[in-house]
Amino acid sequence: MTTPTSAGGPPVDAEAGAGVLLPGADSATSGAAVPIGARGSGQLADVWRRFRRNRLAMVGLAIVTVLILLAIIGPYVTPYNAFEQNLANTLKPPSAEHWFGTDVLGRDLFSGIIYGCRLAITVGLLTVAFSLLIGITLGAVAGFKGGAWDGVVARFIDVFLAFPPLVGAIVIVRAVGGGVTPVIVALVVLGWMTTARLTRGQVLALREAEYVEAARSIGAGNRRIVLRHILPNAIAPVLVYSFTSIGVVVVAMASLSYLGIGVPPDVPEWGRLISQATPFLRVPGMTYLWLAPALAIAITTLGFAFVADGMRDSLDPKLRGGN
């Protein structure tokens, strides 16, 4: 189903050496504030400079860095065990002991949010990594081999795109079973298509490039041509897309948990915390029950989206259309 909107991915110009820019994108994501220009690439320095000038992108970078740090050190700094119930101390508003208050089961919400952060970031990164693996492989095969290969991959993409994503995820999670792993499986199964499509388009365009012809003329095999020559140049827009989709994955998992699907009920997942709060939504003074998880989800999505936007703009300044 080639919806016209997705027919053309973000344009990338091969001659700008998008592949060389990759490390720049990487270090931007991991939040390393080292001047990348030191590595001796003027283009990398350019990208970083453009990225740094984008205030929103820097805010996003800060958010993402904090989130990842929290995900790593989280459980060592939480004041309480996020799972520990205390039925004598339920539904307490925020206080000095419990910064975000306690939930229906008397669990400390602050610890819950931090645990949820670790879960969200882990699921987000794993899902996107697996989607990238599948999408890039299939997309590269389809784009490079063409013909029947291309046809088969295109049909697969159509079938999977035909599922309204959330509905599809629900069906898959229910088929695979409860828990976090089925959620990742479902989100990967429904998440690789755009990556494949973007990669295919890029590979298709680069297949006929002169430098690929040159590589072939000196006797490079298909495998080498794809892995060493085409993919490094094709991958930048794919990575930018997948960075945005980390936020989408976090929201998808929260939506599933909100509906009571996937993550086990006792896990303080953000969506689950919000669904737990629904009976109290209209009770005055109980905003704290859903405000913290809602903000956590919103901030996470925004953070990743800002960074992805910034990456796109700084990788391809033409897209900004600025004078």
């Binding site: 189903m1 016209p4 035909a162 629900i170 898959i172 929260a254 629904t278 989206a305």
Partner: protein, 310 residues
């Protein structure tokens, strides 16, 4: 053009078939709904009778063929829970969902197009920055957070009902539909505003716009007629696809507002593992989505000949 349409329709039918098969397999992979579980002991003969009643005693491929045959005749079987015909449940839910989708689309086209045009025409002004910032925020905030905030703060105020419709509570549909429609519209409106701004900026640079200005047309005609028409094309595409998603049931939004549409039907069926309802709703969603995106593709090819030649 005829061949293009035929190809797209065949493709759509194949995709729908493949998708229904996947859903069918996935739902029945969950296991036997009538087996004893936990404290609920089911005598074997009753379980067997139940399986026979719902046709689960036959081999899976046969079940699928029978299901497809019945489906074509508008029969989706009866649900596990109350043994009601699933087709009737769908029939009751679909008009609500369609109403919600249409109201949401109208709201988001109005807001999105107006905001996008203002942002593009008054580029880099205060209004442009405002639209861009709000759009970015709205796209980043998940729909159920918006929904929850609205339920917590706005429901019960003014025309918005505080309690969802039920047997005892009567609410006119236009009051009931407002908040969920607004929730759905926020994100789409943001997307449309961005799309509109981008394509408007592009169109405004075109030669024919310069020509229109050069021959002395008023700015109003240039923007409203010449520029608007061409920059609306990507928006039309987006709206078509988004309408397809919405017709399939906005599961989260409908659940938050307990709005009796297809999405809410699905989420309640999931909680109760009501497989016949789950399958029927999912098939409906897929069909709605595929049919609408096929129509959009055909329309698009009609508007832009380059696509069908490809």
């Amino acid at each position: 053009m005829g061949r293009f349409i035929l190809r797209r329709v065949v493709q759509a039918v194949l995709v729908i078939l493949a998708a229904t098969l996947l859903i069918f397999l996935a739902t029945f992979a969950i296991g036997d709904p009538f087996a004893s579980s936990g404290e609920k002991a089911v005598p074997p003969d009753i379980a067997a009778a139940n399986r026979a009643k719902f046709g689960l005693d036959k081999p899976l491929p046969l079940q699928y063929v029978i299901y497809l045959g019945n489906m074509v005749r508008g029969d989706f079987g009866i649900d596990f829970e109350q043994h009601r015909p699933v087709a009737q449940m769908l029939e009751a839910a679909i008009p609500n969902t369609v109403r919600l989708a249409l109201v949401a689309i109208v709201i988001d086209i109005l807001i999105g197009v107006v905001a996008g045009v203002i942002a593009a025409v008054k580029r880099y002004s205060f209004w442009d920055v405002l639209v861009t910032v709000i759009a970015t925020l709205a796209i980043g905030i998940p729909v159920f957070v918006i929904g929850v905030v609205l339920v917590a703060n706005v429901a019960g105020w003014g025309p918005f009902p505080s309690v969802p419709r039920s047997f005892t509570v009567q609410v006119p549909w236009y009051q009931e539909v407002l908040l969920p429609a607004f929730t759905l519209a926020i994100i789409d409106a943001a997307f449309i505003a961005r799309l509109m701004r981008g394509s408007m900026l592009e169109v405004l640079r075109a030669d024919y716009i310069r020509t229109a200005r050069a021959k002395g047309l008023s700015e109003r005609t240039v923007i409203g007629k010449h520029a608007m028409r061409n920059s609306l094309i990507p928006v039309v595409t987006y709206v078509g696809v988004s309408l397809g998603v919405l017709f399939g049931g906005a599961i989260i939004t409908e659940t938050i507002f307990q709005y009796n549409g297809v999405g809410y039907l699905l989420s309640t069926a999931i909680v109760k593992s009501n497989a016949p309802v789950i399958i029927a709703v999912v098939i409906f969603s897929v069909v709605a989505y595929v049919v609408l995106s096929t129509i959009v593709d055909i329309l698009y090819a009609f508007l832009d000949p380059r696509i069908r030649l490809n």
